[in-house]
């Protein structure tokens, strides 16, 4: 597997990985805000978000129809749709693409569910590797506390209930997350993850995150020809509005 830079794409892909509650989504959101403010062509893509596959995935999850194999395949389908229709064209067009979770999420989860590691890796063989992958590593207790503090209602698959680890969703979630963390740690060297100390406070992490990104990627190459107005933040969500079209081209 090669990175997008090695494959001579003009864009670059940055992925963040880590457990639920590791703070990676906050960090990549803040990174996106910064890159936008710098006038850089940036696109953000989330795991499990393809419109086409969504209804099948949510039906499978709601009705608890998924087996380890179909769980793996339906997520690979979702990923392929986003990869071929969004990520590839944007990377050809010289965008910085930010991915909240990438193939490593599948590697970690599916293997934990019992799928053979080389089968899962083979499934995603069509995808290039990120140019940088940040692994937001927390102590298991820290990320568990962040998620479980409010005693949220855990969903069946999210808690790994299909693995029959425990009949208590919270206990199941703990064991499941622990196993996923082991998988991430085991992949760290193989895929050259940049390990971030996600026990640190938000601001400190973001300063380091931005520094590392600008050291590894020559960001000025990815600037728009003329700046776009900053998209407004939507209050209460972690998302910015997409501004349609490149004004410079108009």
């Amino acid at each position: 597997m090669k990175t997008f830079a090695e494959l001579n794409f003009s864009g670059r892909l940055i992925a963040v990985e880590g457990l639920d509650g590791s703070g990676k989504s906050t960090q990549i959101y803040l990174l996106k805000r910064w890159l936008e403010a710098e006038g850089i062509k940036v696109y953000f893509s989330e795991w499990n978000s393809s419109e086409l596959v969504k209804s099948a995935t949510s039906k499978g999850k709601k009705r608890e129809l998924l087996t380890p194999t179909t769980f793996s395949l339906i997520h690979a389908t979702d990923f392929a749709d986003r990869y071929e229709r969004h990520l590839l064209p944007l990377l050809r067009a010289g965008y910085i693409v930010l991915c909240d979770r990438y193939v490593f999420t599948a590697f970690a989860r599916d293997v934990t569910r019992g799928c053979p590691p080389d089968w899962v890796r083979g499934l995603y063989g069509f995808a290039a590797l990120p140019d940088i992958t940040f692994f937001f590593k927390t102590d298991l207790e820290v990320s568990l506390n962040r998620i479980l503090e409010g005693r949220p209602k855990l969903k069946f698959f999210e808690a790994g209930m299909d693995l029959r680890l425990s009949s208590d969703p919270y206990e199941s979630f703990r064991i499941f997350q622990g196993r996923i963390l082991e998988q991430y740690i085991a992949m760290t060297d193989e895929f050259k993850f940049v390990v971030m100390d996600a026990n640190e406070n938000v601001e400190k992490q973001q300063v380091l995150f931005r520094k590392l990104v600008s050291e590894k990627i020559d960001l000025k190459k990815f600037k728009r020809r003329s700046p776009l107005p900053l998209p407004p933040a939507i209050p209460g969500t972690n998302k910015t509005q997409e501004v349609e079209g490149d004004l410079a081209a108009a």
Partner: protein, 238 residues
């Protein structure tokens, strides 16, 4: 490793890693696959086999492409709009197959049923090969599949297929004509070209997967006779 034509009991296995937590030894039934293009007489033959098998006291279950609870309607919708790229479509079909394998085929075999599959992974692989997908990637993907006890490929000349499809529906199916490939704007031409390409993909797969090619240019009755004869032998093996 060249694999055997059938997986007689005791030699039951998956093509690759198979399905997590499933043991082949528990699968007492038989898996019989009928492959072939639309118009090759697949459904007719399967209906006749089901009649015959059930009359003889065998319990049967039928599976086929795009019949899963999980994704069949979504897959149908996506195909209508023709908006999925090839890898996505390929994985969507694989999900549909895996759902039926996990939830219908394997449990039915465990219960000693005869499972009749109206097409199996070979059609899916042939379609993808014609669309330029990587063979090694496909082999890994379908390593989840169980090796059937018998696979019959109903082979019909493309020129004959086109006649049968037109006399049945008075129209050719977009996908069965391979219109997404842009081989020809003319649907008739495209159908013949696409089905010819599919047949050579099947011949290629036949070398690896060793299925039985049945000459289906013949009358329905003689084909049924040949299939019954072969299945009878299979059922006698215990």
């Amino acid at each position: 490793m060249k694999n055997s034509e059938t997986a007689a009991n005791g030699h039951r296995r998956f093509y690759g890693h198979g399905i997590p937590h499933v043991k082949c030894g528990d699968l007492a039934g038989k898996l019989i696959v009928v492959e072939g293009a639309d118009g090759s007489g697949r459904s007719t033959q399967i209906a006749r086999l089901v009649d015959w098998l059930e009359t003889s006291g065998h319990a049967t279950v039928q599976v086929g492409l795009k019949r899963s609870t999980l994704v069949s309607s979504e897959l149908e919708k996506a195909q209508e709009g023709n908006i999925l790229s090839r890898t996505t479509l390929s994985l969507f079909y694989a999900t549909d197959f895996a759902d039926q394998l996990d939830n219908i085929i394997l449990p039915a075999l465990k219960a000693g049923f005869i499972v009749l599959a109206d097409r199996y992974i070979y059609t899916l692989m042939a379609r993808d090969l014609v669309r330029g997908m990587d063979e090694a990637w496909l082999k890994n993907l379908y390593g989840i599949a169980l090796v059937p006890d018998a696979v019959f490929y109903l082979s019909v000349e493309p020129q004959e297929l086109v006649q049968r499809n037109l006399s049945k529906n008075a129209t050719l199916d977009y996908w069965e004509s391979g219109m997404d490939l842009g081989m020809s704007r003319d649907m008739f031409d495209s159908f013949v070209k696409y089905q010819t390409a599919m047949q050579s993909a099947f011949r290629k797969l036949q070398k690896t997967y060793g299925f039985t090619i049945v000459d289906a240019n013949r009358p329905v009755g003689s084909i049924t006779k040949e299939l019954r004869k072969k299945i009878r032998v299979l059922l006698a093996e215990k």
